[in-house]
Subunit: 462 residues, 2 copies
């Protein structure tokens, strides 16, 4: 096969370029890089760990000539199959590029390589009195490059935004092997097309990100946390609406439904009431007086909406306990059944009650188990389907339910993905949201930058 021969030569060149230590085409290694945190799986032809931008540019030039797929990959914690090599080819692992190159405390920016662990950034900046706000649940393992590629979110979306809001500039290797710089190190810029934000969230389909300039901000001097428990989900929803209406913008405003509360209680006895329909976790932050006054007004709103329990954390330890329920939510749900599918259908905040009710109806209709938790403040819900992929009959129902969940989110003026990306898992649904002409424009952009379609093919239906 001619195509294979072309690949063999290119792979040989790549192995020579980076050294045998950083290249592999053994089945064991290929298996290790055949999946992410979803249930998708596909074997690559080979894997490479380049150590320099120039090597990546060289590899992209060769791959482009040979029309060989290249799939950039960070830690593989993605939740949409974004880094799964569904068309084979070369998985390019970017974790060797893991240096923090610059921290500019006067101008509030830092330059990092894509392989830096997100939590490292959070910790390094916290020690200096700053905050890098995006905090995806995977941050202790995920890389910042993956966060940028998928526009990862986290708990602080409402007040602080998501990854895209903190990316100021990039160095990118194009699919044709040019090294370009996008954006600036200035707060304001109106110079040329915003290529930075075109690459952010492009899921490795438009370029390989090799340097990232991130904005950071001063850390808030004070935090206040509380939990409120409700007998009826509508009371919780009204509480969220009333908090927002009062002008308070909490740093986090998290929601757990009845199924999730019970899974958490099974997993780790925190003492949550099992008959509760909804739980809200709220944190305010900022200057001390402000955060205290805000949490007091939040507590009042919770009580006005008949929360049957509110609990303010008085110490850092109490704060930890308040947040334990949220932190273990996914793990608690994941142990109920063998397969856990975490979705991130997102709606405008005011539509959350409609969304939760709708998801529950879908669960009943298809007789499957779905827990709901997520970011009430920004409408980013995580319907979590508890199933067993080996049970073909049940899994067929699950797939239908997922389709209906997406339809519902779109009907409620929402979006297919709040923070996980489209990747492979949701590729076939993309047109439902962006329309035929919208998708055609995306395709034109993709073709313009990647004429041979080698970069992460098969994703986002592009």
């Amino acid at each position: 096969m001619q195509k294979s021969n072309a690949f063999v030569d290119v792979l040989k060149n790549i192995r020579e370029l980076v050294g045998a230590e950083f290249y592999s085409d053994s089945l064991e290694d290929r298996l290790c890089y055949s999946y992410d945190a979803t249930i998708e799986e596909a074997l690559p032809d080979a894997i490479v760990s380049p150590g320099a931008t120039e090597d990546i540019a060289r590899i992209m030039k060769w791959a482009n000539e040979a029309k060989m797929p290249v799939i950039p990959r960070g830690a593989g914690t993605g939740l949409s199959g974004g880094s799964v090599p569904v068309k084979g080819g070369l998985v390019m692992i970017l974790t060797r590029l893991n240096r923090i190159l610059e921290i500019n405390e006067a101008d509030f920016y830092m330059v990092v390589e894509p392989g830096v662990i997100t939590n490292t950034i959070n910790e390094v900046m916290a020690k200096k009195g700053f905050m890098y706000p995006p905090d995806p649940a995977s941050m202790k393992t995920s890389t910042i490059g993956g966060n940028v590629a998928e526009n990862a979110g986290g708990l602080r979306g409402l007040k602080y935004g998501v990854t895209k809001n903190y990316v100021m500039a990039l160095e990118v290797v194009t699919p044709t092997g040019e090294i370009i710089k996008t954006g600036t190190h200035t707060v304001k810029t109106a110079t040329g097309y915003n290529l930075t934000q075109l690459f952010v969230g492009s899921e490795g389909t438009l370029g390989v990100i090799t340097k990232i300039t991130l904005k950071f901000i001063p850390a808030p001097e004070h935090k206040e946390s509380m939990m409120a428990i409700f007998k009826d989900m509508n009371q919780a929803a009204q509480t969220v609406a009333d908090i927002i209406k009062s002008g308070v913008v909490p740093a986090t405003l998290e929601f757990l439904d009845h199924i999730t509360i019970n899974a958490v209680e099974d997993f780790e006895r925190i003492g949550l009431p099992r008959d509760a329909d909804a739980l809200l976790l709220i944190e305010t932050d900022g200057m001390k007086e402000a955060a205290i006054r805000e949490i007091a007004s939040v507590e009042e709103i919770c009580k006005k909406n008949d929360a049957f329990k509110t609990q303010k954390a008085k110490t850092e330890k109490e704060r930890e306990i308040v947040w334990a329920a949220r932190r273990v939510a996914f793990s608690a749900l994941a142990r109920v059944r063998p397969t856990t599918i975490l979705e991130d259908a997102t709606v405008p905040r005011s539509r959350i009650p409609d969304m939760v009710r709708g998801v529950n109806q879908i669960a009943r209709k298809y007789n499957i188990m779905i827990g709901n938790f997520g970011h009430a403040g920004d409408g980013n819900l995580h319907p979590t389907i508890l199933t067993d992929e080996r049970d073909k009959e049940e899994f067929a129902r699950v797939e239908k339910a997922i389709e209906e969940i997406f339809d519902l989110a779109l009907k409620l003026d929402g979006t297919l993905s709040g923070e996980h990306g489209i990747g492979y898992s949701k590729a076939k649904f993309l047109e439902n949201e962006v329309g035929k002409d919208g998708l055609a424009v995306m395709k034109r952009v993709k073709d313009a930058l990647d004429p041979n379609g080698i970069l992460n093919p098969g994703k986002m239906s592009l």
Copy 2:
């Protein structure tokens, strides 16, 4: 001439479509739309004021077939020649599309048409207790569509960001006449390419924006303003650095240099000391206790850096007086000489002293007059060249000085434009910032979306 004939037919069709009232090819009208707020000028072939998205789609289809340039235009307050029809063609005025279509107070977004005046948005939202933060100096005349097209900034960039940070979704007519929707009404989204941010700041070269979803936020409950005057620009610069270092992020942090202070004092006797080298205007906002504590800490920092006068506004009236100096800065400079060229070279905040010193050296070198004022907090400086374009000899020196100012901004890790865009005036400099390969990527995007190059040709060197 065949090309002309093709235009004649298309223009006849367009006139019929929109009605004679909303079309003109008279010389008077063409002259009215031959310029913006720069010194650039070029006559269009005709002007049209469409009243509906569908009409715009029809016009774009016809124009695309005839390869006739179309130049979208709002209020024409642009400062980079962005809406000047440098290749002739049809100026498309979008001011008839001036409705606020929806205000969603629960989900913090509004949907507006591009012809709404920016200040109308500010006022409407303020009355409801919200804030739409971008406040370009032109906001009493400029349209939100123009703001989006140029990614306009304003005084609140440091704390609140610029126009791009508030655009959630768009309806856009492509150069080939399709109507697409980009973005979502949700706080978070990771669905497909970020076409919204590709269109924001694309200066009318990629599509005609026909609907805009803007994010708004709760208005801060309290504001505190103060002025600080310094004998030496370095003291002011150190003050800015120290404020930022202290963790205070002022809502505005404005700077006026010696020449600007004297022009202001000539124009309107506020009582500024004429020997002052720099003046800072600072506003903190947020919850009352927080804003008061912040302004106190700012005042202390000003005194520590030997400000020879600080003045805190105690009433709304005093606040007005404090801000009068900044508000009249441009008008005061503009009356000194017949021609005023307002630049917006922008550098990382910590490089402002280097930038001001460098601009002053350039002014001396070319023996021209340049006042400096701008947004110290976000590094967005407005070197304002006071000249007379009829004096060919002097103007040649001015052009050289402008080139050197841009070179300097880039040398200081800055950008050609903080908030005015590249347009026509700075097109030839764009490659200096984004590089040959970066510009090539922009060109590929442009060609992909606008294969006949009809939308606002001659801009951004694309």
